[in-house]
Amino acid sequence: MSGKPLLTVKHLKTYFEIPSNRREKQYVKAVDDVSFVIREGEVLGLVGESGSGKSTIAYTVMGMERETGGEILLDGVNIAGKNGKRPRTFQKNVQIVFQDPGSSLNPYRTIRQILTLPLKVHNIVPPAERRDKLHEILEMVELPDTFLDNKPGTMNGGERQLVSIARALCCEPRFIILDEPTSSLDVSIQAKIINMLLKLRNEKRLTYLFITHDLSLMRNISTRVAILYLGKMCEIAPTETFYRKPLHPYTRMLLSSIPVISEEEEALKPEKTVPKGEIPSPVNIPSGCCFHTRCNRAMEICSKEDPVMREVESGHCVRCHLFRDCPASGQI
């Protein structure tokens, strides 16, 4: 847990209004009071099922959705700009790679055009040096120069995702949000992309927020893991601790349902809990702790009172009534 805080998210809330005829407004609470800190050099894994709000957090940080409440700080400076736009320095320093490289690259532009735009906008290099810069960037992601005049449609999924990564690297960012960058790819290609990302992280001293639903992948690349459920954070811990001693009943349920390929891994899974039900609709979030409807250790208090984040051991925080005796956590 070294390094100074790069991105601080405090009590972030993102609600979406549902059109309805009723007098009182209804909201989808996609992100509800989430706080975390990402320190320089970290890879924070944000894991959750679909509908848990992990992508919404990314979009809110990027300014693609407007926050309903809370603060986002980069290097300790609030990034809320006028009318919800992010300041230019933020846009240069923080980049995002989307899940589906098929739809996040403009099919009518060549790779050259796609990669030149961020160079122009942020004025990274003088116009005369752009050519060299493009070659340098392609070399970084190990794509051949011949791709420059191709359009995304002629490339396969893995190559397209490498272009997306190259585009993010163009403006020399310090922090990249990776929103499920490999979930639409095959494992052999995924391994390649992940290695590329880890190599770039070492070379460029990047910090990642890695959004995924794959806990086995997170085990291998993150330094800390956070679990989201229905817009709220359940558990956050350094990777080693997290996998050695998962505490939240939801985390244990997730870990126990992963299909694995060796006995050694089987032994690491928590005892088999049969998953109950599915993630409820975020419009009608259950009262109290939102997980109590699926929890196998639910108590009476769980349906009444929402637990607070408590620090069980150094850096390992859990939001569950089972750990009522531990002190409430500060900044996590």
Partner: protein, 330 residues
Amino acid sequence: MDEKLLEIKGLKVWYKTYRGDARVVNGVDFFVRKGEKVGLVGESGCGKTTTMKSVIRTLDEKAAEIPEGEVLFRGKDVLKMKKPELQKIRRHDIAMISQSPMSALNPVFTVGEQIMDIIRFQGDIPKSKAYETALQAVKSVMIADPERILRSFPNQLSGGMCQRICIAMALVTPRELLIADEPGTALDVTVQDQIHSLLRKLVSDRKMSLIMITHSLGVTRELVDRIYVMYAGNVVEESPTAELFRRPLHPYTQGLMKCVPRLSGGGVSAGIYGYIPDYINASPGCRFCPRCSRATEACRTRRPPLVSVGENHRVACFLYERDAGKEELK
């Protein structure tokens, strides 16, 4: 138990494109015994779904051509069947569950109507009896409040619920063979886990055969008895589950196993070099050879046949051809 329920012999499927024929399935041999659970593993585009679609002949016949091969179901060639006979097989013997449950159901009819449709298609069955059967079917896939579900439209249900309905629909009448095409892929891990244990229970209760199409080695390890690994239209390795994970032999299987991120840590492997080949101008040799680190000259010119390397364990790779010969000599 030894009787082969379904046997595919030398199946080839070509898709016609404007550039020429894409040889997507390039000579697949495959069989399922009665009551056996078999997995078909491979990455996207390797022809697993195409192979299985040709079993119940739901391929688009304008685009796909089957130049060679046989699909024997109980000894009869499905590919040569006339429509009434084929309908009978689809109606009574083989069921298939598709990958995306949301798009497999018709959005303008309620779930109940759709299930009852299938039941009444079996013969002249009164509506009230069909409703009872539908209710039973929905109950058997562990759905709480089945009456409400039967009244709902698919868009009112979650993905996991829709997949359960699809399974219920596939199994309203007794079937001998269930083909499940990545039934859990579109779902979250916890829901996927539920669907898989449901499948496991139903299949063993009813003594059906199961073909599980998936891209995940982990899923096959938990669910099936025997695995076929496919790469670019060929079966490259065939083995009982435990044996495959203990001793993967084909370089592709080995590479694939290394690529799967482990819960026990240890980093991520470098992946498999290159990408899947072009199916239109594919080389006559081994299709994995451009990505293989152990390729030799022979791999480029000749296609390796499946050779036996142990009990029920067969590999299509020249590395093991000599070993296989030795074993036979002994």
